[in-house]
């Protein structure tokens, strides 16, 4: 699968919740979010921040471990939730 592009605002929100990602490092799509320091508490906080940001609801059935495994899977989850919420999110250009 090709790398999924995401808006800067998404990356900024993820960055704000992963303490181990250095400010001068890029957000690698396939690095485990846990390796960036995302624990279960920060995961919920990140989820709520993304729901607020994109005005979507992530349904319970998408809240499985694999949804949060890395930035790529998280973005895919957010897109899926947006589609289910009938919300359009602009890709890659800083929504």
């Amino acid at each position: 699968m090709a790398a999924t592009p995401w808006p800067d605002a998404f990356a900024d929100t993820v960055r704000a919740h992963v303490p181990l990602l250095r400010a001068d490092s890029s957000l690698d799509p396939d690095t485990a979010l846990a390796d960036y320091g995302l624990n279960s508490l920060k995961m919920v906080s990140l989820l709520i921040a993304l729901e607020d940001q994109f005005l979507i609801t992530v349904p319970d059935e998408l809240l499985i471990d694999s949804s949060f495994s890395n930035t790529r899977s998280l973005w895919s989850t957010i897109q899926q939730a947006a589609a289910m919420s009938g919300v359009t999110i602009a890709d890659g250009t800083g929504a």
């Binding site: 181990l20 846990a34 390796d35 320091g37 508490l41 709520i48 349904p59 319970d60």
Partner: protein, 395 residues
């Protein structure tokens, strides 16, 4: 009794009263001396109970977590320290059975089943505290050999265990969340006792500190390298929360039974009037607490067994919430029950070490329950997890 008795526990039913009596006989000395209960554990080893969760193909009893729940509750009525030591050993066995390689299982499980291999858990770390899912000390070594150096402040039975399951950061380069679980035989380790266990209660568990060093073959890593979280979620946490809850509630139930026995006997203190509505209300409330908490224990055990039998992960938020709630509630209610019983029977029967019923020891022992993997930590986790379960899926 709650529900149908699981099959292995039912098979052992005839032998159990004698075992519980044996544990009860030694419980006071174990507590007073803060002595590891070697004599109490001997018949558990001999009866095959150390291999309760070992599949029959490896010579074990082939039991499951429902059997562990049932038996832990009964044994805790004899001696809570002994029951908890045994339950924690069984937690390690569950992880070995589910995640060790076939070769390692063939090496270890027959010894476990024969009662020759008592397993202790090393997850605490001086630098880091009790966070189960992270580790500071890193595995080193090369060419098929791993080296570990570990400073663990609390290891239940550590001075006496014949084998250890130890969490380590997977390598010096790995993040703290990349934890590997390693098996080490006592004979492979240099062990230094770093602190003694002189505690308010659970004194027989001898949960002092150890400094551990050793070189081990790489095949003694259990499960995938760096993936201890999976073992914790699918095995260590469910087995721990179910068996701890069973031990604590079993001890509280036994305390209640002893108080009922006291009230029904001429030994009852004069202050304890069976006809008093206050006595009746207190007894009814204690019974209600025991009923509810024990029912929840049975229900969560069934849920875990059901998910396991269908090959479904326990990582879903609601399953984790249920398991954490079980630990929190069992810890709170078991202590509250004994505390209420002390209030009910009064100073002489409830507070003195010389009392004919061991409420004073039960109270000290059960004070540890909320601290043994701290309820506060689990409540914070659950407070976050409940936001991920909009449907509020109750157990």
């Amino acid at each position: 009794m709650n529900g149908t008795e699981p099959p292995v526990a039912a098979r052992l039913r005839d032998d159990l009263p004698e075992l519980v009596r044996h544990l009860a006989q030694h419980a006071a000395d174990v507590d007073t001396e803060a002595a590891f209960p070697l004599e109490s554990l001997a018949p558990l080893r001999a009866s095959g109970l150390f291999g309760l969760l070992v599949p029959a193909g490896y010579g074990g009893l082939g039991g499951d977590l429902a059997d562990l729940r049932a038996l832990a509750g009964d044994l805790a009525g004899g001696c809570l320290s002994t029951a908890l030591i045994w339950a924690m050993h069984c937690q390690q066995v569950d992880s070995l059975v589910r995640y060790a390689s076939d070769g390692l299982k063939a090496e270890l499980l027959p010894r476990v089943a024969a009662g020759e291999l008592y397993l202790a858990s090393v997850t605490t770390e001086r630098a880091r505290g009790a966070d189960l899912l992270t580790a500071e000390a890193a595995l080193t070594g090369s060419a098929g050999t791993i080296r570990l150096e570990r400073d663990a402040p609390i290891v239940t039975g550590g001075e006496f265990a014949e084998g250890f399951l130890i969490t380590m950061r997977d390598s010096e380069e790995a993040g703290a969340n990349r934890v590997s679980l390693v098996y080490a035989d006592r004979s492979q380790l240099k062990i230094e006792v770093s602190s003694r266990w002189d505690a308010l209660g659970m004194r027989g568990t001898c949960s002092g500190g150890l400094k551990i060093t050793g070189d081990l073959p790489e095949h003694q890593i259990i499960g995938e390298r760096g993936q201890y979280r999976t073992i914790a979620v699918e095995s260590m946490i469910p087995a721990a929360h179910i068996s701890w809850a069973a031990c604590w509630l079993g001890a509280a139930r036994n305390a209640f039974a002893q108080v009922i026995g006291l009230i029904r006997s001429p030994r009852r203190p004069r202050s304890l009037d069976p006809d008093s509505p206050l006595t009746a209300v207190r007894l009814a409330r204690v019974r209600a607490d025991l009923e509810l908490a024990t029912c929840y224990l049975s229900q969560v055990t069934r849920e875990v067994l059901d998910l396991r039998s269908r090959g479904i992960s326990l990582s879903a938020p609601e399953a984790q919430i249920h398991l954490n709630t079980l630990k929190i509630v069992a810890a709170e209610k078991s202590f509250a029950v004994v505390n209420d019983l002390v209030e009910l029977v009064g100073l002489s029967m409830g507070y003195l070490r010389s009392s004919s019923i061991p409420l004073e020891r039960n109270l000290r022992d059960l004070r540890s329950a909320s601290l043994n993997f701290a309820n506060d930590r689990l409540l914070v986790t659950n407070g976050a997890l409940v936001l991920m379960d909009r449907a509020v899926r109750l157990a």
